[in-house]
């Protein structure tokens, strides 16, 4: 029998990203940040991406260590360096959370669970397509760049300043033309798979709420309480 991984319910993942996203906006104590990193690391382990999880934790620890180090190299710009590292550390969490969600969720599972919480398909399909499309966009950009190189045009800063309108035109026109074609093909493929079929669907891959979801949600609530408590404690 095939050993199947326990997959975490996509809604839980979206909740996780929401929490991580709001964490950039509000001022959170370091202990909350560390425990969130531990949670995301655990999720990477659960998904079998051990290397990514270890890398993330090491990078976080390096950033933390850097905070305490006093640097006297650049003189005036020392403070700037610190704030740069702080910014990188703050953005590490949501970026890694989004990466985890993107890597571990098949589009079909995501769509079926979004359907379950009654989000209209007019929003689900564009969002699903959008996330699928980012890698394609990068590929297209590289192709355009190569084609330009063959004709001896490069997108250097000098050219950008000299002829900005031409630069925008040269990048955007081929990109839009090819993307619109790819979009048509994608729509045809989706139509063949019966995405727009109005009846109820049975899917090959489904995910159910498991003990992991309970664990994540409890963890999030616990962290929330901890954060509020530490804030109150600070005030006293």
């Amino acid at each position: 029998m095939l050993r199947t991984k326990i997959s975490i319910y996509p809604i839980t993942k979206i909740l996780l990203i929401l929490v991580l996203g709001t964490m950039i906006v509000i001022d959170i104590p370091i202990i909350v940040e560390t425990s969130m990193i531990v949670l995301v690391g655990l999720l990477f382990f659960q998904d079998g991406k051990y290397l990514t999880g270890i890398k993330m934790i090491v990078i976080f620890l390096l950033f933390l260590w850097f905070e305490g180090v006093e640097i006297k190299v650049l003189g005036k710009f020392d403070g700037f360096l610190h704030s740069l590292v702080f910014m990188a550390r703050r953005f590490l969490l949501p970026v890694m959370g989004a990466k985890y969600t993107n890597d571990s969720t098949p589009t079909g599972v995501l769509m079926s669970s979004l359907e379950k919480i009654k989000i209209p398909k007019e929003v689900i399909i564009p969002v699903a397509v959008m996330f699928r499309f980012f890698p394609t966009l990068r590929e297209e950009y590289n192709n355009i760049k190569n084609a330009m190189k063959m004709r001896g045009i490069s997108f250097s800063i000098k050219n950008m300043v000299k002829a900005p309108a031409a630069c925008v035109e040269y990048i955007l026109v081929p990109m839009l033309a090819s993307s619109s074609k790819i979009g048509d093909e994608l729509a045809a493929a989706a139509h063949t798979k019966g995405v727009d079929n109005p009846c109820k669907k049975i899917r090959y891959k489904e995910s159910k709420i498991s003990i992991w979801d309970m664990f994540i949600i409890t963890y999030l609530i616990a962290i929330l309480i901890m954060g509020i408590w530490s804030r109150v404690y600070d005030k006293i």
């Binding site: 996203g21 906006v25 700037f80 702080f86 703050r90 397509v129 499309f133 035109e169 026109v173 619109s180």
Partner: protein, 194 residues
Amino acid sequence: MGKNNLKLKDLVTLGVFSAIYFVGMFVVGMPLGFSVVAFLFYPLACAIISGVITMFFMAKVQKPWALFIFGLIPGLIMTLMGHTPVVAIHSAIIALIAEFVRRSFGFKSIKGNIITHSVLSMWLVGSFLQIFLMQDVYYKLTEKMAGAEYASELIALPLWIVPVLYISAFIGGLIGGKFGAKVLNKHFKKAGLA
């Protein structure tokens, strides 16, 4: 199911163009974010660049509500990635207005599409609006990320800057829309895409 409902093909096109719009927004925003004064030109610059994308999208999908969803998605994702909810609500309102402006001009009118793009571009002001609506939160955030100097400069922006930003976004939209219509005529009509 009427003929004018959004079909699967339109929805996929919507997703594709939203992705391009989003990437374009980021590419324009990155170099401008480094100083407050340059950041003030962000709505203008972004409106100009995104003109081609929005115009092409409007030429491709001429159905009601398509533009509303197109305007809604970037705001939603910005909020997910750590902006305040002000951005999402603001962009929803702007997208609704743009949708009705587009309807009143008719879906095929080029002039109407240019004006619609200008109206839609105003959602970019949302990230400034949160400076005024949620000042404390915003200050704390930027102080740590970009230094106290940058943050206090950002907070010290006077309130009259908001209408100026709206107007600059509108003008940028007009320029971008004109440029987009030109590119549309020059390239895409010939190739039979639009």
